[in-house]
């Protein structure tokens, strides 16, 4: 049963190849179904593997191979990729409860979103291409998750990056989409530099890139090198998971089609950074300084993004900042050593955030590409399915008990409380904002006056009556809504058997942070969370139920993302352009081109001049020979005399 794990990456790969080769001929609806089927296959394989893994005793649930494992029946390896002297890289699988959990929700959510896309992308001129990219993405993501060494992880890491680029700029004929794709790619590349440097550093110290070997030899990484390695990996994570300072690309990435936003930029890819941090947790355990950096960055990101999300007008942008904020929580959890809490939130978040985006997509679909929440309102009557499911997601994300977000976030908050009080305060404040912005989104969209009936203030005409989406889009909504409501059950605090905590504990072992809080304190913290969530939701209800114009609550500073983009533009963008332009005009244009063209002109001029010597008269030719002869003779004689 465990060998079904090999099928998990193979299914989407086959789907990708088939769609790439024959997609155009297969045509619109069928290509989408093939893509969905491929991912469903991966999901089923993952389920079978999960069943197999659960049957193993707890301590034997890590299946991998070390540096030089073969490709035999029992080795979890596809093939030897690189074998150069000391460097031995196999395309091998590391199957343990952590990667299994990731696989489960990645393939599961992907499957639902593939299904949803068939409806959403209907009639798009590049329908097939969309599924080619999606399948490639799922394959890359699975590779990232299942890799047993850093290099293969990096392959998946880059794979998801490039798929993200393709999908963000999927409608590349729009300038904004094209440049958003570039922005996403470049921010990710900046992070990837950190990944590569970390790989080099780790290899130079431990002589291996395979996780188990690295962890076994982690004592070789000591002092500055372990901190550097962890921080470099974290730099990669900030790029991929949109954390400060590399978080600005994610809101722009909303230019992509909404299923992409849901799948890649909410549920799966953006959590890869968190996964990477969890994966290398034995390294993290060796460096407290780096842990603190991670925790602080996570907490700050969560807070900053939540404040920004409170002021956005575009529904997808608001959700994007919410994603940044939620991942900030996960990073904060990683920084405190509460890995299980991070993974718990990641899974829960994948469900409700995926659902939120799909709901937003349904709204956008129904309103014919309108994304401005201020032109929505009162949609609950025309889109009942979307309304109900979005309601579940709202309550989950706002962490209203007993929805999943409450349990997941509560666990993080409890751990942070034990680690550091200031960080807890920040996180609790963020929770307040979280509930507030989410409620604001919900009320603006689904309640209040039906503003879409009026023409827009800027003169755009009123919308037609929005319509509910087709069943292929509604079905994933319902499934995800159920999950969003009940995902909290996976790790209830007072249950001790069969929970995520038990399941994942062998991966983290003693490195898992144990808060040792008394039951009373735990209950107190939970009550605080719930009260904050409900209070903020009520505040939003009072503020946004009827009114849409509250400029006081939407300061420009927050709407413009803390002027973060302007800062980068001024600090990096403009000087960079200046340097580039200088190089293009001066160095390349004048010096290099000048040298090349000058040399060419010189040759041509010399040639044209020398051409005149070629008179065509034999007497001149003989003169040439004679002069040459005389010159050589003179040279020879001069040497004789000199010597």
């Amino acid at each position: 049963m465990l060998h079904a794990v090999f099928l998990v990456p193979l299914f989407p790969l086959v789907g990708f190849v088939v769609l790439l080769a024959f997609g155009r001929r297969i045509g619109e609806p069928v290509a989408g179904w093939i893509g969905t089927l491929a991912v469903t296959g991966a999901f089923v394989s993952a389920c079978i593997t999960l069943a197999g893994l659960a049957n193993q005793p707890a301590h034997a649930r890590t299946l991998t191979c070390s540096d030089a494992c073969g490709t035999g029946a029992n080795a979890h390896s596809f093939f030897t990729w690189i074998a150069v002297d000391g460097l031995h890289i196999t395309a091998a699988i590391l199957l343990d409860p952590l990667s299994m959990t990731m696989c489960m929700f990645v393939t599961g959510v992907s499957m639902l979103i593939h299904l949803y896309s068939i409806g959403y992308m209907k009639g798009d001129r590049d329908f097939t291409k969309f599924f080619v990219y999606l399948n490639a993405f799922v394959f890359s993501m699975v590779v990232l998750v299942l890799a047993n060494n850093l290099l293969v992880t990096f392959v998946g890491w880059e794979g998801v990056g490039v798929c993200s680029y393709w999908l963000v700029s999927f409608w590349f004929f729009r300038d904004s989409a094209a440049s958003a794709g570039k922005k996403a790619f470049i921010y990710n590349r900046i992070g990837d530099v950190g990944f590569l440097l970390a790989v080099f550093l780790i290899f130079s110290k431990t002589g291996s890139l395979t996780y188990v070997t690295i962890f076994a030899h982690s004592h070789l990484l000591s002092g500055w090198s372990i901190t550097a390695a962890v921080l470099l990996l974290f730099m990669a994570a900030t790029g991929k998971s949109a954390q400060i300072p590399l978080f600005n690309w994610l809101p722009d990435a909303m230019e992509g089609p909404t299923p992409v936003s849901a799948l890649i930029h909410a549920a799966t890819m953006v959590t890869a950074g968190v996964y990477l941090m969890c994966r290398v947790n034995p390294l993290l355990a060796l460096t407290h300084n780096a842990m603190w950096v991670i925790a602080i960055i996570g907490g700050l990101t969560a807070f900053v993004a939540a404040t920004i999300a409170s002021t956005q007008q575009d529904i997808k942008k608001a959700l994007a900042f919410s994603t940044v904020s939620q991942i900030g929580y996960m990073v904060l959890a990683v920084g405190t050593g509460a890995y299980v809490a991070a993974i718990f939130l990641m899974v829960a978040h994948a469900c409700y955030k995926g659902l939120l985006f799909l709901g937003a997509g349904s709204v956008i679909h129904g309103m014919e590409t309108e994304q401005d929440m201020k032109r929505m309102g009162g949609l609950r009557r025309v889109m009942p399915w979307t309304f109900v499911t979005f309601l579940c997601a709202w309550l989950a994300l706002a962490a209203v008990p007993p929805f999943s977000g409450f349990w997941a976030k509560g666990e993080i908050l409890a751990n942070v409380y034990a680690k550091s009080l200031p960080l807890y305060a920040l996180a609790l404040l963020t929770a307040l904002f979280t509930s507030y912005y989410m409620s604001r989104i919900f009320f603006l969209t689904f309640t209040g006056k039906e503003r879409w009936k009026d023409p827009a203030p800027d003169g755009r005409p009123a919308h037609h009556r929005p319509h509910e989406s087709p069943w292929v889009m509604r079905a994933p909504l319902v499934v995800l809504a159920v999950l969003a409501v009940f995902a909290g059950a996976a790790n209830l605090p007072w249950v001790h058997v069969g929970t995520l905590q038990n399941w994942l504990a062998p991966v983290f072992g003693h490195r898992l942070f144990d808060s040792h809080e008394s039951a009373g304190l735990q209950v107190g913290l939970a009550v605080a969370d719930g009260v904050v969530a409900v209070a903020a939701a009520l505040a939003a209800w009072f503020l946004w139920r009827r009114t849409v114009d509250r400029p006081g609550l939407e300061p420009t500073f927050l709407q413009r993302v803390w002027y973060w983009d302007n800062l980068y533009d001024a600090l990096i963008g403009r000087p960079g352009q200046l340097v580039a332009r200088t190089y293009a005009v001066v160095v390349d244009g004048r010096i290099i081109d000048g040298a090349v063209n000058g040399a060419a002109r010189l040759v041509r001029a010399t040639g044209s001049g020398a051409r005149r010597l070629q008179t065509g008269f034999v007497r001149n030719y003989v003169l040439g020979i004679a002069l040459g002869l005389a010159a050589i003779i003179a040279f020879m004689l001069s040497r004789t005399w000199w010597s």
């Binding site: 040639g607 040459g628 002869l629 050589i632 020879m636």
Partner: protein
């Protein structure tokens, strides 16, 4: 006779005619004997020998010589090198390689010449016979172990070449080339002979082995005589291999000679001369190499730079290839300058690779020269890829190989000589690479031009002329026909003419009559394209429609100025329609158009045998480029088996 010889030799009572070991000079005997037999046969038969027969015989003879050379190679590999004919001839790996090379070149030249002779209406076996005689000379030079024998080979090689250069007696340029070559060649031969005399004076022998022996045993107190002798020998050789500043005959002769002969000349004459050059200076004067190395160093530098630099400014492809061959000579000189086993081996490799590239290139040039062997202006190569994609591809690959592109023998050849040079003379290697970069420009220029698209249909600017401006000669036929130019009152009645081929303007320039056409878009003419010639005056418009057929356009030299030739468009088959402008004198007669550059009417026919030759050249260049091992070890072993 023997008594007489004994009397002449005086005190040497034991004078004997040398024992001739015929097997040692078998390739030469086969080649020369075959040539003589073929010549005799040709004069015995009543009518001129048919070209096909001559070609078949030549190929057979050359293959025989090739077989003998290969046998020699095997023999030398197993039994080691030896001298023969009183030490005047040497049989070693080096000579065997040169013999193989020359035989191959002869086979290829015979194949290319066949198509050329058929096209130009030649008959008889003269060209083949002369080429074989010349090839024998090159072989003799490769096997010579005596300066006198070297000279003998040089003259056999050269005299036949003088005649070959003049072979196309219909072209004045051919005769001019031959005469120049002859005069300058005689001059350089004289220099060479004088060099032999001085060396003999300095060392007491003309035998290469004995010269080396003498130099190793004696230290010359005053070496002026030897230095002068070496200098003169260098000049003599440098003339033959076309090293600057003794190169000036090369462009004229290469341009004037019949194209297949140019290829032969570039390959065989250079190979033979370089073989002797290497042997004389490495084996005989190896010990005094510090004396001659600086000279070769300087010669190599100027040869490399002048060859590449002047090739850039040429418009005639044959002239450009002539300068390119000068550049190649500079590269081979690198190996000589190194004066090491590695250098010799690199030079041999280069000569081998070069032979196939240059014969292949000139074979393509022969084909594209068309009847009259005149269409060598670079502009006539424009758009070749559209007309004849395969030919263009082959030519492009051969040119890239000459430029030293990867996956061709050209790269390895250049690499080897540069590696040989870089050990002792880094600046020289740098100059070589710079010249290779310059050379890449003109090779690529031709390649790019072949793949340049023709002016697209409809791109012809539909000029609406102002009244006082001259009427544009070209415009799209339709446009002009519907709106004939109406001159302003009082102005001279304008007459406009235009011609289009397949909708594209046939000529450019703003002129009033057909006779003043500035430039003709020669590259536009394709077989079977619809051709429209028209003349519009105030009386109306006369147009004639026809289809181009091979032969409908003829080229003949106008004699007015170099490079200007006359194109005759045969319009007899076309019917004039439309109005009847007064001064349209066409209608049934040929319209004469003066063109700068040369016309190409449709596809240039590629004879089968030429295609075979080009294919062989390309095959060697590319296959050995991908798989350089065999040729490298061949050149390496030839050098190892180098005597002494």
């Amino acid at each position: 006779m023997i008594e007489l010889a004994a009397a002449v030799s005086g005190s040497h009572a034991g004078f004997l005619t040398p024992h001739i070991r015929y097997l040692a000079i078998l390739p030469e005997i086969v080649m020369l004997g075959g040539a003589v037999v073929l010549l005799a046969l040709g004069s015995l038969v009543q009518r001129n020998l048919r070209v096909g027969v001559a070609t078949a015989a030549t190929v057979a003879i050359s293959l025989g010589a090739l077989g003998c050379s290969l046998w020699q190679w095997a023999d030398v590999r197993s039994h080691g090198p030896f001298t023969a004919v009183d030490h005047a001839v040497v049989v070693d790996g080096f000579s065997a390689l040169v013999n193989i090379l020359v035989s191959c070149a002869m086979v290829l030249t015979a194949l290319v010449a066949d198509g050329y002779l058929r096209r130009e209406g030649g008959a008889g076996a003269e060209l083949h016979v002369l080429a074989m005689v010349s090839a024998t000379g090159a072989m003799v030079m490769g096997s010579a172990n005596d300066l006198i024998v070297v000279f003998l080979g040089l003259e056999i090689l050269s005299i036949a070449l003088y005649v070959l250069a003049a072979f196309n007696h219909r072209r004045a340029a051919s005769g001019e080339a031959a005469l120049k070559y002859f005069i300058l060649g005689s001059f350089s031969s004289a220099v060479f002979v004088y060099g032999i005399a001085l060396v003999y004076g300095a060392t007491g022998s003309t035998n290469l082995t004995q010269i080396a022996d003498f130099l190793s045993k004696n230290v010359l107190s005053s070496n002026g005589l030897l230095l002068a002798g070496m200098t003169l020998l260098i000049v003599g050789f440098a003339f033959k291999v076309a090293a600057v500043p003794f190169h000036m005959w090369t462009p004229d002769v290469y341009q004037g000679s019949p194209s297949p002969i140019t290829g032969f000349m570039a390959a065989v004459a250079k190979a033979g001369a370089f073989a002797a050059f290497l042997r004389v200076f490495i084996s005989s004067f190896g010990l005094v190499r510090t004396d001659w190395q600086p000279v070769i160093y300087a010669l190599a530098i100027v040869t490399l730079l002048v060859g590449a630099g002047l090739a850039v400014v040429q418009r005639d492809v044959k002239r450009m290839l002539a300068y390119s061959s000068i550049n190649h000579a500079g590269f081979v000189l690198l190996g000589l300058e190194a004066a090491t086993a590695r250098g010799v081996s690199a030079s041999l490799y280069y000569l081998f690779a070069y032979t196939f590239m240059v014969i292949g290139s000139f074979a393509v040039v022969t084909v594209l020269g068309r009847r009259g062997d005149a269409a060598h202006d670079i502009s006539s190569y424009r758009g070749l890829a559209r007309r004849q994609p395969l030919l263009a591809l082959v030519f492009a690959v051969l040119l890239l190989a000459q430029a030293g592109a990867p996956f061709t023998t050209g790269l390895w050849a250049k690499l080897q000589v540069v590696l040989a040079a870089v050990h002792g003379a880094v600046p020289l290697a740098v100059v070589a690479m710079v010249s290779a970069a310059v050379a890449a420009f003109f090779y690529l220029r031709v390649a790019v031009l072949m793949y340049s698209p023709l002016p697209a249909e409809g791109e012809a600017p539909g000029v609406q002329p102002a009244a006082e401006e001259p009427v544009p000669l070209y415009a799209r036929a339709g446009a002009v026909a519907t709106e004939p130019a109406v001159p302003a009152e009082g102005a001279e009645p304008a007459v406009s003419t235009w011609g289009t081929v397949g909708g594209r303007p046939l000529w450019t320039g703003i002129e009033r009559s057909v006779a003043d056409i500035e430039h003709l878009n020669a590259g536009l003419l394709l077989d079977g394209d619809p051709l429209t010639l028209a003349l519009a005056g105030d009386g109306g418009t006369a147009t004639s429609e026809s289809r181009l057929a091979a032969g409908a356009l003829a080229v003949e030299p106008s004699g007015a100025a170099p490079g200007r030739e006359r194109m005759l468009v045969d319009t007899t088959t076309t019917g004039a329609g439309g109005g009847t402008p007064g001064d349209y004198s066409g209608g049934g007669e040929g319209v004469a158009v003066d063109v700068a550059g040369v016309v190409s009417a449709g596809r240039a026919p590629v004879p089968v045998l030429t295609a075979v030759a080009v294919g062989l050249c390309l095959g060697v260049t590319v296959v050995l480029g991908f798989w350089p091992g065999p040729l490298t070890s061949f050149a390496h072993h030839a050098t190892l088996l180098f005597l002494p």
